[in-house]
């Protein structure tokens, strides 16, 4: 099951990457990032069947950090939305120049 898990994980990760590259809505991009994190979690858990519970400990950390990140990231997106009235990635270009 290890190989299949890793394969699924890779596929999910790739789908997440494609989503980040193609979508323009900032929130959906954020969700794709969460998908990538989950794929990595799956890898950790799959490998923990081989190497022990450390993998699962790490998954706990990942989830915690993902939660923190989601909170802060969404707060930022809300803040941006208040200024620009849009979450379209094309409009978030203050760095341009």
């Amino acid at each position: 099951m290890l190989a299949e898990s890793l394969f699924f994980s890779a596929v999910l990760f790739t789908i997440g990457v494609v989503g980040v590259l193609t979508r323009r809505n900032a929130i959906i991009i954020f969700m794709c990032v969460e998908l990538m994190l989950n794929a990595v979690n799956l890898t950790f858990v799959a490998l923990s069947t081989l190497y022990g519970a450390t993998g699962q400990v790490f998954v706990v950390f990942v989830m915690t950090v993902a939660a923190a990140e989601a909170a802060v990231g969404l707060a930022i997106i809300i803040s941006i939305f208040r200024h620009r009235q849009s979450v379209n990635l094309e409009d978030i270009n203050l760095l341009k120049g």
């Binding site: 980040v20 590259l21 323009r24 990635l89 270009n93 760095l95 341009k96 120049g97």
Partner: protein, 730 residues
């Protein structure tokens, strides 16, 4: 010993080192000083309008006929140049001083006796110490260079004096003398240099001065074109000279005359190295001395002032090629095939140019083709290894050809004066406009006839001795010489030599014919110039006729320099031969298998008789068949037809070159090199392309700072893939 190594430099001091000869470096420096003074004067005057401006000449091309023909644009202006006085003093003055010094050095050499078996080499300074190559600026004073120095300074001095009168009223007077002095400087460098590179410096320098002087009246396009043509064709020959020098260095490791001569003496006869080097040297000589196929610049060079034609294109620069071959005597002696080539081409040129000279109407063109033809003779002489004969003809030719050119210059001067007075636009150089000038110009008439008889080879004039010497040498080497043993393109050497002899006789016949023709049309018969012009004709001023007289005397007695042994009743024999022996003797002997040439007295008398007969026949034929009375002036003359037209149009060689060489080169330059390489490749690809590349890279770089997060994400993912690739491909 005749085989004494003239090629090794003496270890201890030379005999001449304490004599006046140690001032040999002054010989080129004097004309250089003249150049600097005259050049400065010409530039001082150049800023002001008026007589200093060559385009203030006033009139355009000489009549309609010369709209596209280069012309000696001599014109008698009323005003003399501001600095004419100083220039007239400095220009010829340095030449007089140089000639005096040359005579003094010559006297010292005569007094040195046995000490002159080795050359006197005076090293001035190091020039090119580059690894294995070590060339100094050094002057080599030996018998051969002395002969050349005397000719250059002597005849040069006379021509400078002549120029004072001829160019006196020209707006570019100081510039003329500056260039003329510069030319003498370079020519002296050429003959005094002790190594091939230094000689090459002089070689190139005289080419440059030739260009400057031919295009002296450059405001006429035809004159400027003639100058360019001379320089470019010379350059082709220079390429040959350079290749020869490269090969010399590669094979011998040295470039001094002594070193190369010593190395050449070690080579077996017929060595490929020697043949290759000799042929390339001859290519250079053919360019400079106007042999086939590079003679085409000389007739066009008549666009320059006539004294220039006399000095450069008769007496000195064109003889540089002959000097080169004589200098490389030992090298050529080791390459019989090259020698046969030289002789064959010399003979062919002699005949070919003579045929063209038969039908030219411009007096200077006749003399130009005559020069090419006589140069062919000289190459025949040095080609068969008779270096003395070649150099002897060089000397006598300098005398009578300079005399002929200066005499023609006097005639043109008078014709110009006459036409200028009547404001006519006729061609002052066309013989059809002349005739009967014997009456107004008796002195010039006599002197020109002396020169004509000399060049035709009438006995006891100088040309007779030198021409006969050459032909006899050719005949003598048809048996028992390295040349006879060799073969050229499958033809046995002796057959080639017989052919050369026959061509030589043919050329002699034609020389006699066309020279007599020239004299007939110019001086004899009735005058065709016109009633009004005749009133203004007279003898040229003494500043011009004086040098002519000196040259006439030399043309008369110059033959005594080297009387052949069979005519010992005339006086001391073979003076020049003995004089040059330490320099070229070894080379001569190699050709003749180590024995002095000997023809039986009967053969010699027969040869002399044949030559005289040919000369007399030629003169008689011309005198009887060519009637000056049947001539009409140039503007009324009908167009030539048939073979005469071909001869007049120079066998269409220039046109052939134009079609086969010039136009393709221009086409390639224009379409391939200009449009293709320069505009397309260099401009388009390199210049514009690099700008395009910079802009492109800048655009790519700017995307890194676009501020668009989506782009950042892309770059991030691509980077990840890159890193993974690095891992997976390891």
């Amino acid at each position: 010993m005749l085989l004494h190594m003239q090629n090794e430099l003496p270890a201890t001091g030379h005999v001449l080192a304490d004599t006046v000869a140690r001032f040999v470096w002054l010989l080129p420096v004097l004309p250089l000083l003249g150049f600097l003074v005259n050049g400065t004067l010409s530039m001082l005057a150049a800023g002001k309008p008026g007589p200093a401006d060559p385009s203030a000449h006033g009139h355009d091309a000489h009549g309609a006929a010369s709209a596209h023909e280069a012309h000696d644009d001599h014109d008698a202006h009323a005003t003399r140049h501001r600095f004419a006085g100083i220039v007239s003093l400095v220009g010829p003055g340095v030449m007089v001083l140089a000639f005096g010094l040359a005579v003094a050095i010559f006297a010292a050499m005569l007094g040195a006796g046995e000490g002159m078996n080795d050359p006197y080499v005076q090293t001035l300074f190091k020039w090119m110490p580059a690894g294995a190559l070590d060339i100094d600026v050094a002057f080599q004073l030996d018998q051969l260079s002395m002969v050349m120095v005397l000719v250059i300074t002597g005849v040069g001095m006379l021509i400078h004096l002549f120029s004072v009168g001829y160019m006196g009223a020209d707006p570019g007077y100081p510039r003329y003398f500056a260039y003329l002095n510069l030319f003498v400087f370079f020519m002296l460098l050429l003959v005094l240099g002790a190594s091939y590179p230094l000689m090459f410096v002089g070689w190139e320098g005289v080419g440059l001065c030739s260009y400057l002087l031919i295009g002296f009246w450059f405001t006429e396009k035809a004159n400027a074109d003639a100058g360019k043509k001379a320089f470019i064709v010379n350059r082709i020959g220079d390429f040959g000279f350079l290749i020869a020098m490269f090969m010399m260095f590669a094979n011998f490791g040295t470039l001094t005359f002594g070193g190369v001569g010593a190395a050449a003496a070690e080579l077996p006869v017929g060595a490929l190295v020697a043949t290759a080097i000799a042929l390339f040297l001859f290519l250079g000589a053919a360019g400079k001395s106007a042999q086939i196929p590079l003679y085409i610049w000389l007739p066009d060079a008549m666009a320059g002032p006539t004294p220039v034609s006399a000095l450069i294109h008769a007496a000195t620069m064109v003889t540089a090629g002959v000097y080169l071959v004589a200098r490389s005597a030992t090298l050529f002696a080791a390459a019989p095939v090259a020698q046969l080539t030289v002789a064959a081409i010399g003979a062919l040129t002699a005949v070919f140019a003579a045929t063209i000279g038969l039908k030219q109407w411009d007096i200077k063109k006749v003399l130009a083709y005559s020069t090419v033809s006589q140069l062919g003779y000289m190459f025949v002489g040095v080609g068969v290894g008779a270096y003395t004969a070649g150099v002897f003809h060089l000397v006598t030719h300098a005398f009578f050809k300079a005399l002929l050119f200066l005499g023609a210059g006097s005639v043109i001067h008078i014709m110009h004066r006459a036409y200028h007075a009547t404001h006519s636009h006729e061609d002052a150089q066309d013989m059809r406009n002349m005739g009967g000038l014997r009456a107004p110009m008796p002195v010039t008439f006599v002197l020109m006839w002396i020169a004509t008889l000399a060049i035709a080879g009438i006995p006891f004039f100088s040309g007779f001795f030198s021409k006969d010497e050459i032909l006899a040498s050719v005949f003598a080497r048809t048996h028992g010489s390295t040349l006879a043993d060799a073969s050229l393109l499958g033809i046995p050497g002796s057959a080639v030599l017989y052919g050369v002899y026959a061509l030589g006789l043919a050329a002699a016949l034609m020389t006699a014919i066309y020279m007599t023709r020239m004299m007939l049309y110019t001086f004899h018969g009735a005058n065709r110039t016109g009633e009004k012009e005749r009133a203004h004709m007279g003898e040229a001023p003494w500043i011009m006729t004086g040098p002519l007289v000196v040259l006439g005397v030399l043309a008369l007695v110059g033959g005594w320099l080297n009387v052949p042994a069979v005519l010992s009743f005339l006086g001391p024999t073979e003076a020049l031969h003995h004089w040059l022996e330490p320099v070229v003797g070894q080379g001569t002997l190699i050709v003749t298998h180590g024995e002095a040439t000997h023809l039986s007295h009967a053969t010699e008398y027969a040869l002399i008789g044949t030559a005289v007969l040919i000369a007399v026949a030629g003169i008689a034929f011309a005198a009887l068949r060519l009637k000056p009375a049947k001539l009409v002036t140039a503007k009324d003359a009908p167009a030539e037809q048939g073979i005469e037209k071909v001869l007049l149009d120079k066998w269409y060689v220039d046109e052939a070159y134009d079609k086969t060489v010039v136009k393709p080169t221009l086409a390639v330059s224009q379409n391939v090199l200009w449009k293709g390489v320069d505009a397309g490749l260099i401009d388009g690809l390199f210049v514009n392309g690099s700008a395009f590349l910079a802009r492109g890279l800048g655009w790519v770089g700017s995307q890194l700072q676009s501020g668009r997060v989506g782009t950042y994400a892309w770059v991030l993912v691509l980077g990840v893939i890159g890193v993974l690739s690095a891992f997976s491909l390891r």
